[in-house]
């Protein structure tokens, strides 16, 4: 009996499974009349709660950007979802490769960490203020936590792009 149970292969979860069981939530912004949704964006429930705090007016102790945090995030999400070219240079990286296939989306005041389940399909896991992340050096902790979450969801071998070049994760 034990042998038979061990022989049963559990199917790998799909994106639909993850949405249906509440592990991730689809994130949407309003698109302009001629925009097309060319990429996909998801977030964990914890990340969605953080987004709600931003919508409720949360601000960092020292605002670095010249637009509000909510405006920065809306612009970032809109650029991502509508398939705009994201700037990937040494100083102004919108998406940055980290160890263990963890990526970072950036605005002046915000850092968002997550991973690509597939090309053009990002899952946001953590969001925080730029200053807080730098002051407390949270990069390593976020990387480890995201890797652990992927393992818990059994996605490491399937829904995870491991490449670290922009072309590995974005088609435009």
């Amino acid at each position: 009996m034990f042998f038979l149970k061990a022989m049963i292969v559990q199917p790998m979860p799909t994106i639909t499974d993850l949405v249906d069981n509440g592990a991730i939530v689809k994130i949407d912004v309003e698109l302009a009349p001629h925009d097309q949704p060319l990429r996909l964006l998801y977030g964990t429930p914890q990340f969605i709660a953080w987004l709600q705090e931003i919508l409720d007016g949360a601000r960092p102790a020292r605002l670095l950007g010249h637009t509000s945090p909510a405006e920065q995030i809306d612009d970032l999400f809109h650029s991502f979802l509508s398939g705009e070219h994201l700037v990937f240079t040494r100083q102004f990286r919108v998406v940055r490769a980290e160890d263990n296939a963890v990526w970072e989306l950036k605005t002046p005041d915000i850092r968002i960490f997550g991973w690509f389940m597939a090309k053009d399909c990002f899952v946001a896991v953590f969001g925080n203020w730029t200053d807080t992340i730098k002051d407390h050096d949270l990069y390593r902790g976020y990387r480890i936590a995201i890797r652990r979450l992927r393992r818990e969801l059994d996605l490491d071998a399937t829904l995870c792009v491991r490449g670290v070049a922009p072309d590995d994760v974005l088609s435009v």
């Binding site: 994106i15 639909t16 949405v19 249906d20 509440g22 939530v25 689809k26 994130i27 949407d28 912004v29 309003e30 698109l31 302009a32 009349p33 001629h34 925009d35 949704p37 996909l40 964006l41 977030g43 429930p45 969605i48 987004l51 919508l55 670095l64 950007g65 010249h66 637009t67 509000s68 909510a70 405006e71 920065q72 995030i73 809306d74 612009d75 970032l76 999400f77 809109h78 650029s79 979802l81 705009e84 070219h85 700037v87 240079t89 100083q91 102004f92 605005t107 002046p108």
Partner: protein, 117 residues
């Protein structure tokens, strides 16, 4: 919850996306010029400005005035095009309030009811 719409309102959306778009256009021009050999130091020299000031403008940490936008365009040898127009109403475009990227599930085909039902 299967989806979350990040909605900041039309006014904030217009402001944030316009400023973001201006910066991305500038960054794209800077990246192109960098590949052609222009350093940020040289860009700052042309503008008679500090390199850190130019950096902060490009990164979104400092406001870009119309004057500084024009100066950057000049220093990067780019023309500026600007237009205000009423939204188009054409067949096949998104209807903004109804536009959604939600669609993770496969399309369900519902069979039409038969006449005796």
């Amino acid at each position: 919850m299967t989806f979350f719409r990040f909605d900041i309102g039309a006014r904030s959306r217009t402001a944030g996306r316009l400023m973001g778009r201006v910066r991305r256009e500038l960054l794209r021009a800077v990246t192109e010029e960098k590949q052609a050999g222009l350093t940020q130091q040289e860009l700052a020299r042309r503008l008679q400005s500090g390199r850190s000031n130019v950096n902060r403008q490009l990164s979104g940490e400092a406001e870009i005035t119309l004057r500084s936008l024009a100066d950057l365009a000049w220093a990067l040898d780019r023309e500026i095009t600007f237009e205000l127009r009423r939204p188009d109403q054409t067949t096949g475009q998104n209807i903004a309030p109804q536009t959604s990227t939600i669609g993770h599930k496969p399309i369900r085909i519902i069979a039409p009811k038969s006449s005796d039902e």
